[in-house]
């Protein structure tokens, strides 16, 4: 009887363990722990904020008439949640990386957006859940992009561009919030 009870006990444990693994939060933070607010602030103010400003200025150069009054998928990634600014920034940066291969968007614009995304992840010392996106950062940081001759066709307004533009605006706004609230 004791043998049966032990076997039953261990089998129940083994059923629960996979269940526990399955139910564990997928969104657990993959950012480095520790109080690094001073370092984050220095890198944001001295380097990253200028790249963000340039990216926002690039956004204004493209036609966006097709973007008005549109709601996009994955709109939840555009919120900068209170007390979860780092996680929100990580989510926005990782989401922006998926636009890197969208051919309908101007290559200059895609590269700059990827640069800002990778810079955000580097400053916060975060990683994306899907490791494919980390490869994008390796490519952006090591490669010089090839300039294409004809960029005019890429500047037509499309929904992917609209979504990326909104993502950039949310990322900039979330960094503003981080600077204003966290850095005192």
């Amino acid at each position: 009887l004791s043998h049966v009870m032990a076997t039953t006990f261990f089998r129940s444990i083994f059923r629960v363990l996979p269940l526990l693994l399955l139910l564990s939060p997928v969104n657990s933070s993959s950012c480095a722990m520790g109080n690094r607010t001073t370092q984050i602030r220095e890198k944001y103010e001295n380097i990253l904020s200028h790249d963000i400003d340039e990216l926002v200025n690039m956004s204004a150069e493209y036609r966006d008439r097709c973007c008005k009054n549109k709601k996009h998928e994955n709109s939840k990634v555009f919120f900068c949640n209170d007390t979860q600014e780092i996680e929100s920034l990580q989510s926005m940066a990782c989401n922006m990386l998926r636009f890197f291969h969208k051919q309908k968007i101007s290559k200059d614009y895609r590269w700059k957006a990827a640069l800002v995304s990778c810079g955000t992840l580097q400053v916060l010392q975060c990683k994306c859940e899907r490791h494919k996106k980390d490869k994008v950062c390796m490519q952006v940081n090591t490669h010089n992009k090839d300039t294409e001759k004809s960029e005019q066709s890429k500047k037509k307004c499309n929904q992917e561009f609209c979504e990326l533009k909104e993502n950039i605006s949310s990322l900039r706004s979330c960094w503003n919030k981080f600077e204003k609230i966290i850095f005192r």
């Binding site: 900068c80 919030k177 600077e179 204003k180």
Partner: protein
Amino acid sequence: MSITGTACVHRVVGLCWEELGFFGVECVLFNEEYMTCMWGSRETLTANYSLYYWYENRSPVEECKHYLQDQGVSIGCYFNRSEIIQFQPFRVLINASLGSRTLKILSKPMELQDLVKPEAPVNLTIRNMSSNQLQLTWTSPYPKAQCLEHAVKYKSNKDTNWTHQVKGDIFSLPSVDYEKYYTFYVRSKINSYCGSTQLWSEWSVPVVWGSNSTSKGTAEEQLHWFWIHTVLIPIASCLLLLVLVVLLVRMERVWVILMPRIPNPSKNFDELFITHNGNFQEWAGVPKDVVESFRPNYSENICYVSELPPKDSCEPLWESGNHPPSVMPGAPAAPREHSPYKNSYVGV
């Protein structure tokens, strides 16, 4: 075209925004203490307005609790600090009622952190540093100093244009002229680290430095200069002028040089008027017969002239009053060798 003559750009349900005097909503956060959303003025608005607001995906729709009014017309809405949430898309809905018709105007989503207007800096202080350098510092009523950028404008009393510079928290003027005096102003704006706004604060109260005022700028010194310029110098000038006038009056030699006497020739004519009773001819010594000859009724006696006999017959010449020998008319008189007043005796 609307009634007021303004072109109608926005028309909804037969009503024109511009007709109602509505040209959009403008919201400003003043120093993150309160916010106002204004949509017009008493002169332009022609309908009844009400405002509703909400934060997207966060709060229910609420009506404005404190309307700003101008002569009974709602022109804006006041929000206190508890009603303001930054970094959340903020939207307003304006209801414009004109008669039985109502116009609803929905604003674009606004980010309130991009609408902050900080208060002007205060406590501007100037310090003298080494080697003719000035350092200007100030404090800001805005609570988050790391979110501010500042602009300084200054000029000296010799300059005509202002010099503008955007600076951090301290402004340094590397070389100053001690003969001039400088005026400084400072204003602030939310920097790009914390928002995206173009709203500068008002210019601060100025601070001056230089030779016309000390670094302390006391009122006593200014009063001292006032008495010197407006009282002492005019009185001294008047006294000096008075002394010069007195000297001029008393020192006749100087007076005569400055104001020479006009010559008076009347003394030279005392003999004419006193001795000769104004008889100019007598005073001048003009002969009587010449005087007589200028009279209008002058008639001259004929003077007979005869030739003297030769020497062997010595006869007395005629005297005055005797009948003179006749003179042929038209014949010129012989030239006289002696004065008519003298008797013509030819001695033998």
